[in-house]
Symmetry: C2
Subunit: 344 residues, 2 copies
């Protein structure tokens, strides 16, 4: 997470020399989870995801052991959700500092257990290591039944842009946590949108989770699909109510809840116009109300509507501010506010 745009180039350089599987459906960075056709043909598609929780711990963003355990499962389950996979389970490699208390470990495992229960899945195995800094790498496996495949690639001009739930909690939480103003009002406990992802797979042209925040997610979808997005007037109604209140109290522009790099693990996806009605009906059958926040445009840029009209966000520059975030949160906040004041 906290992935600056410069890391994309780094990953691409690292990966360029690596052999790729002829059975893998998605190209590099073109899906939240890797999708592989299993040998034997009719055996379905395997989805795999790997993610490490370490920077968030070191940055002081996650201090509660329960939350660390919960997130180590959820970040990976959210990747499965974004390709519409049913989870098979998760493996965890836990690196634990020698001085870790029994109480801390118990709460860590409780967070893992609770997250697995919430996702209807299981810890399949893992290993433990000792080192100075706590870190947990999760690797989730899932199966994608027959039918559509869902990746980050496929958005077309005119598709509608939807989000699976309230936006902004990730950044509101990071703000309160890292400025020492976290009084518990902002509850951060993302839930992988597995049930929703299965439905999204049947209708959407592309999907990605907001693990790095909304604008970074849109930036990635724009790069992969060679398209742009327009966030339409009223997008603010998709913001989490409590997070929005907080932002008003601190006189901060609302759109910064989309701009920070700590995400809420909702799904952002695009639905072709002719499938919208059917999609909305199917969603209501599972008691879910996806929120339409904009549409796909031709020009590769993100335009956001506000009271003064609309303005274009330099999403690449925004992502690169993340390099500051990892070391100095206060400077990062100032950089975001500077970004906002120079926006037109």
């Amino acid at each position: 997470m906290l992935t600056p745009a410069t890391e994309i180039a780094f990953i691409e350089r690292l990966a360029s020399a690596l052999p790729r599987s002829p059975h893998q459906i998605n190209k590099l960075q073109e899906a939240d989870a890797e999708i592989i056709i299993l040998p034997g043909g009719s055996m379905g598609r395997l989805a795999l995801s790997i993610d490490t929780i370490e920077e968030e711990i070191r940055a002081g963003l996650y201090t509660d052991p329960w939350l660390i355990g919960w997130m180590s499962v959820m970040v990976n389950m959210s990747d499965l959700a974004a390709v519409g996979a049913d989870p098979v389970g998760i493996l965890l490699s836990e690196t634990i500092p020698p001085g870790c208390s029994q109480e801390f470990l118990t709460n860590l495992q409780r967070g893992i257990t609770d997250a697995c229960r919430a996702c209807g899945t299981f810890v399949l195995g893992g290993d433990t290591n000792a080192a100075a800094n706590l870190s947990i790498t999760g690797c989730a496996a899932g199966m994608i039944p027959g039918g559509n495949l869902l990746t980050r690639r496929g958005s077309h001009v005119g598709d509608s842009l939807y989000c699976s739930g309230a936006l902004g909690t990730g950044n509101a939480y990071a703000f309160t946590k890292l400025t020492g103003t976290n009084n518990g009002a902002i509850r951060y406990q993302p839930r992988a949108r597995l049930l929703e992802g299965r439905l999204v797979r049947e209708y959407a042209s592309a999907c990605m989770d907001t693990s790095d925040g909304v604008t970074a997610t849109l930036d990635q979808l724009m790069r992969i699909n060679g398209i742009g997005f327009h966030l339409e007037k009223g997008w603010e109604n998709s913001l989490d109510g409590t997070s929005r209140e907080l932002i008003h109290q601190t006189h901060t522009p609302e759109w910064l809840l989309l701009a920070g790099l700590h995400g809420e693990f909702e799904l952002l996806f695009t639905i072709p116009a002719h499938l919208q009605n059917e999609f909305i009906s199917a969603a209501s059958l599972i008691g879910w109300t996806p929120r339409r926040i904009g549409h796909v445009t031709e020009s590769q840029e993100l335009a956001i509507a506000d009271d003064a009209g609309e303005w274009v966000v330099d999403t690449g520059r925004l992502r690169n501010l993340g390099q500051i975030a990892a070391t100095d949160f206060s400077s990062y906040l100032h950089a975001l506010l500077d970004f906002d004041s120079s926006k037109r």
Copy 2:
């Protein structure tokens, strides 16, 4: 790796509260890779393994970036081999210190690429993180075709004990590397026994790779199966020739090549008496000569034959010496020699 027996209790405590999948075939620590029946019934069995290379780097055992890359793939592929799975691919989570040179990274990726090629497999995806210490977590996936399942459980009294290849290179390498006497004579480049594992799955009652060295592996098999092992006279012929020469030059007892906790990633497996001839014939068809080194006994202990008769190894105590190895190799060597001199 370098797993002391005390870690078993730690892992069991960590894992005891975790929900287990009804589709998982193996119990905790009863297989090198986790084995899961995929939903849909006829879809085959999925094998998953996760392992982190970090302690070996920190201990100074792996300094060559190519070897670090190679091992991060091989340790996981070896787990697949030990359950007789065909690899689907591997995901890698790479934690890289900010100061890492481009040359180091290139060689690291080259080691990863070469290991994948050697295993006929692929890097499916991964993520990168920045932190002070280099560490790589690999998560390998494989498929187990129809037929037998191979785990660590199933050995019976009277079964023969085999190894897949020359033993002792892991500990000979660790000895030269950590005493600063590594002149290149001991070449350490383990190769996951994937082809052999597929055959072993059809005949063996149990199997485990020697990632933690031979005696630790036998200790684990003894605990799981409630049996013992007798290493028969002539077991020394299964030792790697160069490693054996080194041990003679340093006037160290040969059996310590089995006792150290840095393994050679061969397979140790047990074959029921009535299947031995057929197994050996099948092995010769793929140009492989498995080596018989002993047999399964009733009393839960490891007996080793030598010129003076036979003696019993306290394998649990040996494994726990690993706690010293991680911090002070010289003390560990002395502890091993003390162990040897008090052996009868």
